[in-house]
Each structure stands twice: as structure tokens, then as C-alpha cells.
Symmetry: C2
Subunit: 160 residues, 2 copies
């Protein structure tokens, strides 16, 4: 059951989110200047956005090539989880190379996004990490040839 939270954001919050989404290291003073407000007011709002879990975290997007992680793959995994649990999903989530685990509609399956150095690394991962999860029935792997876009930016409303 999803927890129902009250967010209630106004137009100023949206503007802050817009700025932060573009560059999470924009400082309070700059945001304040851009919005024509006092830095202290911005600080308060940002803290509240963090508390309210509107802003979940700040991360640096690192170039995968710089760390020699040249292969991106998506793996569909069919598994027989005990009903109502996501045991397999949680096990998958623990694998460091696994960036995303989504429980998908349809065939008792997960969609997993994985980054490895190369094909050998992917084989390794499938053998050593996935291979250890007994509940997995089958997998289907899709290799990414080239990524055209990869962001997590959300569409921020203009009016509320």
C-alpha cells in the first residue's frame, strides 16, 4: 500500500525544483537572485522540500565511459516470487551493477537495467549474480547499441 502524503507545492516550489533539476549545485544565493527573494527564504523552502521528500537526493551524473562501463543492457526476468512479495526484486536490487529494478505487469516479471564494462562483464553478472537466484525462471536480454537520451527530469507543472 502506497503511503498517502500531502505535498502541496506552489509556483515558487516549482521554480526551485526546475532550477535544481537543471543543476543541483546551484547555490541558495543564485536561486534567491533568480527568483527575487531572500536567501533565507530559499533555504527554508529547500529544507522543507527535502523533509517532505519532494527532493529525494542530489546526485552527480558520471560519464560511464570514464569508468569504462560501456555496455548498457536491459534484462527481462521471469521469476516465481512468493505471492505478494518481491523477494527476487530485492535480491536484484542488491547487485551493484543493477541500476533499476521494475516490477512489471504481465508475466510475473521484472525489468532490470544493468551497466557493465563489456559483454564479458554482463555474462559474468548473469552467471554469478543472477545464477544464484533460484526463483528466476528465465531471462531475456536486450543490448543497448546507443543511448540517445538518458535523464530523470520530470515535467514540472506550469500552473497549479
Amino acid at each position: 500500500m502506497a503511503t498517502k502524503l500531502e505535498f502541496s507545492l506552489d509556483q515558487i516550489d516549482y521554480q526551485i525544483l526546475r532550477i535544481m533539476q537543471e543543476n543541483a549545485r546551484t547555490n541558495n544565493a543564485d536561486i534567491a537572485r533568480e527568483l527575487g527573494m531572500a536567501p533565507s527564504a530559499i533555504l527554508e523552502r529547500v529544507k522543507k522540500l527535502e523533509q517532505k521528500q519532494v527532493i529525494l537526493q542530489y546526485n552527480a551524473k558520471i560519464n560511464p565511459d570514464a569508468l569504462d562501463q560501456k555496455l548498457l543492457s536491459f534484462i527481462f526476468i521471469k521469476a516465481q516470487d512468493p505471492i505478494g512479495t518481491q523477494k527476487v526484486g530485492l535480491l536484484l536490487a542488491k547487485i551493484p551493477e543493477v541500476q533499476e529494478v521494475h516490477d512489471i505487469a504481465g508475466d510475473d516479471g521484472y525489468l532490470v537495467k544493468v551497466r557493465t564494462n563489456d559483454a564479458a562483464g554482463l555474462v559474468d553478472l548473469m552467471r554469478n549474480s543472477l545464477g544464484k537466484i533460484e526463483e528466476i525462471i528465465s531471462t531475456r536480454t536486450t543490448i543497448v547499441l546507443e543511448t540517445v537520451k538518458e535523464e530523470q527530469k520530470l515535467v514540472i507543472p506550469t500552473e497549479d
Copy 2:
């Protein structure tokens, strides 16, 4: 053809990346303290990491629920691009609700990650945005019921 770049990172760079990946708003002073170095030295390194495109950007991860974006979907799109181009991919990338576009091996296809408010929003997007791209032959949509993990953290080497 991928551009061959020289990165050449050392152990200190990795530590900085590790910290930044956890919290991109960690300030120089804190990083300096943690690594036992002078703040000015950290500043230099961070700037170099940015210049070298090792750090691509800093972003705030915003809670999709806070913006009422409750539906996540993956869409496989078959398209007949002019050979050697990714015209369709670029058009897809322009759609704001589209967070990722990957050119995948196999059937002249793209894998697209989309976030909308709800099912109606997805239908809208398919009709209004995808519907306008004539080169699209077919689509297959997968709905995400629940996301277990969603990060973009890379595995950072321990030794170099």
C-alpha cells in the same frame, strides 16, 4: 564512431566521485576533510572532472509522486529510420515525458522510458506525440507496477 577520450583518473578522483555520487551537494570543505586534503586541491580536481566530462551534471532527484507522475512505462518502438540515422530517436528524445531513449539491438527498435500522470496521460502521449512520428511501425508498452530500485550510480573501481 565513439570519440576516444583520455580520462586517467586516480584513486583520489574515485573517492571524490564516490562522495559526489552519494550526495552531489557535499561541499568542498567536507570533501577536503574526509580526504585529508586542502579545499583548494579538491576544488581543482572537481573542476577538472567537470572539464574532462567525467562529471556530466548534477541533478536533483525529485519524487515523481510529488508531481503526480504516478505512471512509469517502457515502450518498445519499432521504426524504419533512414539507414545510419536515428531520426526517430531524436524525435522521441524531444518529448518531455520521455526520460530515456535507447537504440537497441535486434529489430530496428528503440526502448523508451516514459513518465506520465496516469494511464490517460500515457494514451495522450501515444496518440499526440508518438502518433505524429510517421516512421514508427509498431509499439509495445510495458507498465511498471512498482519500482524496487532506480538509481544511476555507477560501480566505482577500488584499485586502478
